[in-house]
């Protein structure tokens, strides 16, 4: 049941991306998509059950440690992208007076 719910989080994020009118909203939605992806990875990693991947005593089944190592990387990547996008946002606001996609993409031919 869980992986499906995680996938729904991703889909909600994508829905938000396709209806959001301003840049900040799009950045929020990217954050949602990223969190959903991480959750999906971890859900599937704990698919067969197990305990925290720290050695307490051999013989107890652990969950898959690889997704966790990879997902820490994904969180760092996501945070850097968010901060870069937000900095671009500030600059765009003071340049165009607005952060609506419609306004900033209006003709500059």
């Amino acid at each position: 049941m869980n992986p499906i719910l995680s996938f729904i989080v991703i889909l909600v994020g994508i829905y938000g991306l396709s209806v959001s009118k301003n840049i900040i909203k799009s950045v929020f939605c990217i954050t949602i998509v990223e969190a959903g992806t991480i959750l999906l990875f971890l859900n599937l990693g704990a698919y067969e059950g197990g305990v925290i991947p720290i050695l307490s005593s051999l013989g107890i089944e652990i969950v898959d440690p690889i997704p966790q190592a990879l997902m820490i990387t994904t969180i760092v990547i996501g945070s850097t992208i968010t901060s870069l996008a937000l900095m671009l946002c500030i600059k765009i606001f003071h340049h165009y007076g607005s952060i609506e996609w419609k306004v900033i993409l209006k003709g500059d031919k």
């Binding site: 396709s18 799009s26 990693g45 990387t73 992208i81 870069l84 600059k91 900033i104 993409l105």
Partner: protein, 537 residues
């Protein structure tokens, strides 16, 4: 020691960049050329050893079981790309060095990007690939927004968000593959993909990965970020982006679709052919109506990517090789065109195509190379575009509808370059010349290579691809006639329709796709691909 060279390819440019950033001295920046020289020498040695013993190209980092460790792997494909990258970066550095010498940060980002791109080409691990994909996205975003004016900031954020979304889908695909095969090593997956290839989950992973790659390589309908980004950047960067970095997506396509999943596994050849044809047509139509020199070239990149896709979709044989060759050829002539256009824009202080006249009389050397670029891109015999374009149509030369699409693209390309060539004619204009021999060195080198490949394609083909390219004939009367007819049709089309600037032309020119629509199309793309794969094939 030789097996360590891949790691050197990655870290030499990165360390060079960091040193430039830390020292902040304009004389120290010349070490970029030293690092390019070292790279070229190492590359020569590496290729020499690779030919002697191909096993040298596989390196396991950490020395663990290679199913679980990160590995770097080189093959003919990645080695050609590496050679091309080193050449392109050297030419672009020559071109940009004098004007950007004091901007340490620009060179820092450029060198870092080279290291990351070389790493991206060599890695044999899917998650590693994802990290490099994101790093390239971030680096290009920063380089695009380097000017900090309105259009560049706007292009940067559009590029960043759309490509991040694409990379996220790539990641979901990786997740599914990991839980089905227990490994994310590309070589391991390539050998074992047959175990579960008909399971729906693997198909879904395939679709998600391919969708992510399609954003990266600007296929229809996900190309909207490309003209924005490539049109506003510095000229040197535009050349690099259009010539090389956008091919990163196609490289991934070859790695994932053709090699890893196996091109025949899901019978997607026709689908990708038509996606490629649509991309090419839309790109060429959009290019026809533009009024800005750089925008024309940027839109042409889209259409040429479509052409490459038409060839690559076959996955084997001469058409596939034609697609591969077209990647290299396009890198050469598109960067040549961009660099020449950059020189012209600098001298005339405008980008408007109708405001520039008399280039041939005022800037003869530049315009000769511009003409070489234009002949190459439109596929004239004796130039490199001709060879690859002839190869691409090998597999579908008997199918009339496909040939019709292909011909349309060619006519469109020729027409828009007739429009482009209007800037050459006219009276001489007095310009204050920027004396910089270095810029001409890079243009000269690229132009020579264009002609060189166009004439000596047979030995090159047998050396790189091990194929006999005698199918392509230089003195084929039909090809010459075709080319002349294209020029005729193109001239009529230009004179009586495009040049008059009718209403439809203006409407297409004012076409803008908002970010929401781009996302909507992305979802549409994913669902239609999955519909085709799950229910039609």
């Amino acid at each position: 020691m030789v097996e360590l060279f891949p790691v050197f390819f990655i870290f030499i440019p990165i360390f060079t960049g960091i040193i430039i950033y830390l020292v902040k001295n304009k004389h120290v920046t010349s070490i970029v050329f030293l690092s390019q020289l070292i790279l070229a020498v190492l590359y020569g040695f590496y290729v020499y050893h690779y030919i002697q013993n191909p096993n040298v190209a596989y390196i396991v980092l950490g020395g663990w079981d290679d199913k679980f460790a990160i590995t770097l792997k080189n093959d003919t494909l990645s080695l050609t790309f590496i050679g091309l990258s080193i050449f392109m970066w050297t030419s672009v550095l020559f071109y940009t060095y004098k004007t950007n010498r004091i901007y340490h940060k620009y060179l820092f980002f450029l060198m870092f990007l080279e290291g990351i791109f070389l790493a991206f080409l060599q890695t044999n691990d899917l998650f590693n690939l994802f990290i490099f994909l994101e790093l390239i996205t971030v680096l290009i975003t920063i380089l695009i927004s380097y000017k900090k004016n309105g259009p560049s900031l706007k292009a940067a954020i559009y590029y960043l968000l759309l490509n991040t979304l694409g990379a996220m889908f790539f990641l979901i695909g990786i997740i599914i593959l990991y839980y089905t095969y227990g490994s994310i090593n590309i070589s391991y997956l390539q050998e074992n993909i047959g175990l579960h290839q008909n399971h729906q989950m693997v198909k879904l992973a395939y679709i998600l990965m391919i969708s992510g790659i399609s954003v990266k390589s600007a296929l229809f309908p996900l190309f909207t970020w490309l003209p924005k980004a490539h049109g506003v950047a510095y000229t040197s960067l535009s050349a690099l982006l259009s010539g090389l970095l956008v091919k990163g997506g196609l490289y991934l396509f070859i790695r994932v679709h053709v090699y890893m999943f196996g091109y025949a596994t899901y019978n997607m050849t026709e689908v990708f052919f038509y996606i490629g044809a649509l991309t090419a047509l839309v790109g060429v139509v959009l290019a026809l109506v533009q009024k800005d020199l750089k925008q024309i070239l940027a839109h042409h990149t889209i259409s040429q990517i479509g052409l490459m896709m038409m060839g690559l979709s076959y996955g084997y044989g001469l058409s596939f090789t034609g697609g591969l060759m077209h990647i290299i050829n396009h890198a050469l002539f598109k960067s040549l065109l961009f660099l020449c256009a950059g020189l012209i824009i600098y001298e005339y202080k405008t980008k408007k195509i109708y405001a520039i006249r008399g280039v041939f009389r005022s800037m003869p050397i530049t315009s000769i190379f511009l003409i070489i670029g234009m002949l190459s891109i439109s596929g004239a015999p004796f130039f490199n575009g001709y060879v690859s374009k002839t190869l691409i149509k090998y597999s579908f030369k008997a199918e009339p509808f496909k040939m019709f699409l292909y011909t349309l693209v060619n006519v469109g390309t020729v027409t828009s370059f007739i429009k482009f060539s209007q800037i050459l004619f006219g009276k001489k204009v007095d310009l204050e010349k920027r004396k910089d021999a270095k810029q001409f060195v890079s243009i000269f080198a690229i132009g020579l290579l264009c002609i060189g490949i166009g004439i000596f394609y047979k030995p090159i083909g047998s050396f790189i691809y091990g194929l006999d390219l005698s199918y392509v004939k230089l003195f084929d009367l039909k090809a010459w006639l075709d080319y002349i007819i294209y020029i005729g049709i193109g001239y009529i089309l230009f004179k009586y329709y495009i040049d008059k600037d009718y209403k439809p032309v203006q409407v297409i020119r004012s076409f803008q796709m908002t970010f929401e629509t781009a996302n909507y199309l992305f979802i549409f793309y994913i669902s239609s691909l999955s519909f085709i794969l799950f229910y039609l094939l």
